[in-house]
Amino acid sequence: MSGALARALLGRTAAVFGGMVAAITALVVLLKAAPGDAVDLVTTDPELRARLVADWGLDAPLHEAVLRALGGQWGTSWTLRPGAQVAELVGDALVQSLPLWLGAWLLTLVVGVGWAARRRAVRKWRLPALSAAPVFLLGWGLIVALNEGAFSAMGAGLLERPSWFSLPDTDSWLRNALAVGVLAVGSGGLRSFIDSVRSRLDVHRRSPAVEALVARGQPVDRLLAWLLVPDLAVLAAERGALLFGGLVVVERVFAMPGAGGLFWEACVRRDQPVVVASGVVAALGVAGLRWLADVARVVADPRLRGSA
């Protein structure tokens, strides 16, 4: 690896993870600054309160609290699964969410790039119309339509009870497929990804370098693809980060287990260790995606190696 490349990567790594540390510090500061005390949700008995404050480290100084948050020392769950190790809870939930997140992310990339690369005009209204609906609304619409349709068909004797009936209570291939699709398409996500990729492709197609290849009679696809890599890396990272948030909604709407549903429950029940852990993991995920995008950009575009 060349010196310039290594320096650029090091600089990017420091920036990305430095930002993450700053954000987690801000989260811990906010928690400490929040009105009231989280332990008041559990008990007001002074003796018990003092013990819980000590046990849960609520009186720890700021730097210690930040280090614990960053170091994965999240303690035990307060209200969600009292006594359970938060690290285990969050870890198990992440494993359950990974296929859903990965499926939606890959679907976005494949469909998004494929659609954006089409030169022929596409009927523009269909995808924006669908994509404008928020994730929960898309999910709701599909669940209602499929359930009612199946129920009517069963009632009319046209259909045997399908394995997936009824959504979302039954764990089925259809429920999982719908969840992936809804997560990918909803809230304008897929549409804005396609628009961004298309816009970058158009810019590169009109670039002097591509035009020069055309004038020399040489094919442009490989250069276009390589020029798009840095843009695609950034867009894919942004999209991946947004999908983390979408997991919360999709797992709830489709009654699927996972990190999103865990985070939601922890927020509702004010289980602070699980909330903090989920926030840290989400920040780590976002930072990780951005770091990968930065690595891809620096490797693909030699112009970036001088400016770390």
Partner: protein, 267 residues
Amino acid sequence: MRRDVWAWAVLLAALFARLLSAVGGYDIVADVDPGNAGASPAAGAWLGTDALGRDVAWRMVKATDAFVVPAVWAAVVSVGLGGALGTLGGWFGGSVERASGAVAGLPGAAPRFVLVLLLATIFAPTPGVLALGCGLAFVPQTAAEVGARLGAMRRTDFVEASLVHGVGVPRVLGEHLLWTGCRLLLARLGMRAAAFFVVVETTLAYLGELGVQEPLPSFGNMVASGLVDGRLHLVSRLAPAIALWLLLAALFHLDGVLARQDAQEAA
């Protein structure tokens, strides 16, 4: 222009509904009428009634309380804070740009919806906190885009010439750069934050607990009740969903309109 009229009409309808909600005198408690539950659309209730016999159309009007004003606040936070940080960075460049970029980037460390939920959990899921969260979620993008545009414009000859000829910095920055060069961009970014607030508010209401709670109406909780109650007329079940979808489609469409106009002015 004719293709965009529908979007402006939807937006105006939402604003009108908010106004109507304030002056229309609809009482969410007095409207309860279990004997009239699940009624079909008719003259007295254009969109039918829900499971408690309440007028769905009036509840939809009342539901605009939950998002119209807070969405505007979300836009103000995003444009105000993000715009200010972007302006600082774009105008001064160098270490100021790096510092303002780092500050603006802080909210971007978490996914947007997660950020809003974190704030709602730490403080309380009030409209103000949600609006603040949604506005903050768009600060990184606003700061980056305004900073990039302002930075490019700052280096143009006409700006240098204006400064050399004694035109004050506030006027160059405010009138020539921000107003002339960035107003459509800021409008778009504010609109995105507002649209995000609508999504967040209705999603939280749909999911329950952290959102608008019954008997107060939200498009979100109205859609949720339509999911489970098969007695409701189809129109009553679909109306809130369609209204929400139309509103968001209009906001996305207008984002595209403003983007094209912005590109034309830049050219």
